[in-house]
């Protein structure tokens, strides 16, 4: 694959992942995997994924604002303030915590949550 073809394939993959991101259903894992396939290292992939999310989510946010979607801005600001706090703590504690262990605990919780939403009778009825 030449450079131009590689760029086109990357752009198509990025577009598809960004559509999922714009839907608000999460896409970070997919983009990190794509970057890994392209030979990007894990740490660099994490940083690029965050930057990618900032671009795609900001575009979605502006679209929602323009179209007057019922985003609760007060709630979003409240949540963002605490997320920023967590980011700062995570940024400074990153070197102290075993990332592998955290990732596996987090992964287990996600699998349980996802299966519960997909197959749990209670949530299934909620639609």
């Amino acid at each position: 694959m030449n450079d131009l073809e590689l760029r086109i394939v990357n752009a198509i993959a990025a577009f598809l992942v960004a559509v999922l991101s714009g839907l608000g259903v999460g896409s970070g894992g997919l983009f990190v995997i794509w970057l890994a396939l392209m030979g990007v290292g894990a740490t660099q992939a994490r940083g690029m994924n965050l930057l990618f999310f900032v671009f795609s989510a900001s575009a979605a946010f502006l679209f929602h604002l323009k179209n007057k979607r019922n985003i609760d801005l007060g709630l979003a600001v409240y949540l963002a303030a605490f997320a920023l706090l967590g980011t700062v703590v995570g940024g400074y504690m990153g070197k102290l915590i075993e990332g592998d262990l955290l990732r596996r605990i987090f992964g287990g919780l996600l699998v349980l949550s996802g299966c519960y939403t997909l197959f749990g009778k209670k949530l299934g009825k909620k639609g």
């Binding site: 760029r7 752009a11 990025a14 598809l16 960004a18 559509v19 999922l20 991101s21 839907l23 608000g24 259903v25 999460g26 970070g28 894992g29 983009f31 995997i33 660099q44 940083g47 690029m48 994924n49 965050l50 930057l51 990618f52 999310f53 900032v54 795609s56 989510a57 575009a59 979605a60 679209f63 979607r69 609760d72 007060g74 979003a76 949540l79 963002a80 303030a81 997320a83 920023l84 706090l85 967590g86 980011t87 700062v88 703590v89 995570g90 940024g91 504690m93 915590i97 990332g99 955290l102 990732r103 992964g107 996600l110 699998v111 349980l112 949550s113 996802g114 997909l118 009825k125 639609g127």
Partner: protein
């Protein structure tokens, strides 16, 4: 439980989960927003009906859009922290930037046009997929 006690309880839970979401995003580079969306869905939607937090009525789509918006500043800060530590190489990012913006806009447009049940299913499938990936990779 009185209405104000319920609201206070929800506020504390959402603050805690948001903090953890920012923490996870900072450490893992992804995934925190998923937990925030799930928690908001559990707390704010009752029996599939619309819910509210600060007076505004929210449906499942609004919750996804609101939680996504809440994650943007934390992720931007994480990018700065990564860049400061030399862990963010933007030299090859240009190829992803424009598709990210266009795709994000298209996804937001689709959000109002896809059945809420399908959004929930896509969301749950991606949550499960992300979890399996985190466990195995």
């Amino acid at each position: 439980m009185s209405s104000s006690t319920k609201t206070a309880k929800r506020a504390i839970i959402l603050a805690t989960v948001s903090t953890l979401a920012g923490f996870c995003n900072s450490l893992l580079g992804a995934g925190g927003g998923i937990f925030l969306s799930l928690t908001m869905g559990q707390l704010l939607l009752k029996g599939g009906e619309n819910g509210s937090f600060s007076g505004k009525t929210l449906d499942r789509r609004d919750i996804l859009a609101t939680s996504q918006a809440a994650m943007i500043p934390g992720c931007a800060l994480s990018c700065l922290i990564y860049a400061q530590g030399g862990l963010l190489d933007t030299t090859n990012f240009s190829v992803f930037a424009i598709p990210a913006v266009i795709g994000g806009g298209v996804g937001a447009w689709l959000l109002s046009r896809i059945d809420a049940k399908w959004i929930a299913r896509i969301f749950a499938a991606l949550v499960t997929w992300s979890g399996i990936r985190m466990l195995l990779v």
